[in-house]
Symmetry: C2
Subunit: 326 residues, 2 copies
């Protein structure tokens, strides 16, 4: 391993000068700078980040906490985070928590042990602080959080409910996401508001988990409890797709006999047939802007908005019936 010392020796200057040259801090004579650059190139030197972060008490790492990396929504979000963070010179420590509080605690501890510069978390209801380390919540942002990026769940709920309500629903079932996921209730509020205003009745089906594996359970429960359901407002696309496809398997016609709308707009939703109508959340954008916000916090920049809310969008696709002529 070549160190700053080797560079200093080869350039014929002191390590302090090399350090100043590398970091553009303090004065460095033109001649010294040139010699240092040559030496660095010659030795193919790059500074040891560990030593840096020991001194600075702050590393170039950012912790990323995700609830379930196998739900395609989160890789998208992670990409947004990664792109921005890399651009700013940070690396991500991956923490895939699978709705497991113990793992979350473990991760927060190792984040602290490694002097992370900040944490981005899509985990609801966790321990969202870590002595002075900046936190930014992504997607799942509880009311009491200070910094976060999420999309407008209330509006999303309204859009979804309106899309269904306008399409001659007879028996509506609303899938409600886990109570502890902040957005779930907001969406439900939006949905109920619209449905009440339009005097539509509906049934609720609570899903205890957003985990990928939970879909089978939800699906069987739906068809068992509500055999006459003809319209589903789902809590996410993975669940919606599971239901849609199970319906096809049972010979139920989509959308004539069962229409369904999802939430998230994961890449598969557009790709499958019939394509899944959904409320599109800007997953990549949430990650990207969350990363921006975190960088601003890390660098103590002025922050215009602590809580960023991104708009959602209705994607009308083949899983919805034609609109009624009003």
């Amino acid at each position: 391993m070549t160190t700053i010392k080797d560079v200093a020796r080869l350039a014929g200057v002191s390590v302090a000068t090399v350090s100043r040259a590398m970091n553009n801090s303090g004065y460095v004579g033109a001649e010294s700078r040139r010699k240092i650059e040559v030496a660095i190139a010659e030795l193919n030197f790059y500074p040891n980040e560990v030593a840096r972060s020991l001194y600075q008490k702050k590393s170039k790492f950012v912790g990323l906490l995700l609830p379930d990396i196998s739900n395609p929504f989160f890789p998208l979000l992670a990409k947004g985070v990664e792109d921005k963070m890399n651009q700013m010179g940070y690396q991500l420590i991956l923490g895939n928590v699978q709705e497991n509080m113990e793992k979350e605690k473990e991760y927060l501890k190792t984040f602290a042990q490694n002097n992370v510069a900040g944490v981005l978390s899509a985990i609801n209801g966790g321990i969202n602080k870590l002595g002075g380390i900046p936190f930014v919540m992504l997607d799942r942002v509880a009311d009491e959080e200070e910094y976060g990026v999420h999309s407008n769940d209330f509006q999303g709920g309204q859009l979804a409910a309106t899309a269904i309500a306008e399409r001659n629903p007879h028996e509506i079932v609303v899938l409600v996401g886990p109570r502890n996921v902040p957005g779930s209730l907001e969406r439900l509020r939006g949905i109920e508001e619209v449905l009440h205003a339009r005097k539509r009745t509906y049934q609720l089906l609570e899903t205890s988990s957003f985990q990928f594996d939970a879909t089978k359970e939800t699906t069987s429960e739906l068809f068992a409890r509500f055999p006459k359901v003809d319209s589903v407002i789902a809590s996410n696309d993975v669940h919606a797709l599971a239901i849609l496809q199970e319906a096809l398997r049972r010979g139920i016609k989509i959308p004539e006999e069962l229409q369904i709308i999802g939430y998230d707009d994961i890449p598969f939703s557009k790709m499958l047939f019939p394509s899944l109508a959904t409320i599109s959340q800007p997953a990549y954008e949430i990650g990207y802007q969350g990363a921006e916000l975190l960088c601003d916090r890390i660098e103590d920049n002025y922050i215009k908005e602590k809580m960023i809310q991104l708009p959602v969008k209705l994607e009308v696709r083949e899983s919805l019936r034609k609109k009624e002529i009003e």
Copy 2:
């Protein structure tokens, strides 16, 4: 931040003794140990990993290089890696490279700068070495690699081709993955061997990328160039699903008019209707065993197998026709 010094002071011993107690290295008297434990608990102390890794020249980080985190195969693999690595006390630095050589180089550099203990890479054809840092390749393992975990691509190709050949194919199209992905050619060998032996003709369609977004292109090309295709052997599930669903959209009956077999067995393949027959690769297991192998290398344990090949399995599902009675 509370340091080992604080603990030493409170326990009335030296930092060396605290260090020995924490690491169970060297002698520590019972009385001292007790006092240290009390002090640690009292202060809620945990050691700074940065300082540790500076001294050891080796951190508790492992770099994970992935080609495309939005392809559901890789999150699965990542989970396997994460589970094993966490269990062994390591953290993952995420490197999602998107088939971009520049990004890969960047990552390798920062891995080195951060004293990673090792690297797990699912990137083909990269710069798979880093001055003395142990590398283990996952899934995409070129011939010249020394350490890796992958599944038996030749066998996978054979299984896929056999499944199709036994089911009365008229016009077979074989999707060939990117040339630079080592497994692609192996699979093709397996496929061709079977098809030749059974005297089946077939067409090749090369796909230049495994990226999620590349599916649309592949799909249109397939139907444009081979309008009479009735059997597809795909290079991965994402492509296979795209084709299958596009066929449905065009009113082509699955599997009567078009049968198709994928590769990977991502979670969606089982969930969709018609479900996708595929060659199941043990993605989680590849990640997990890769992590095990890497740990053994890091700890300089005896290594039985440097190159681990896991079996693949044919999953017969609804996208295949009934077998011919022979």
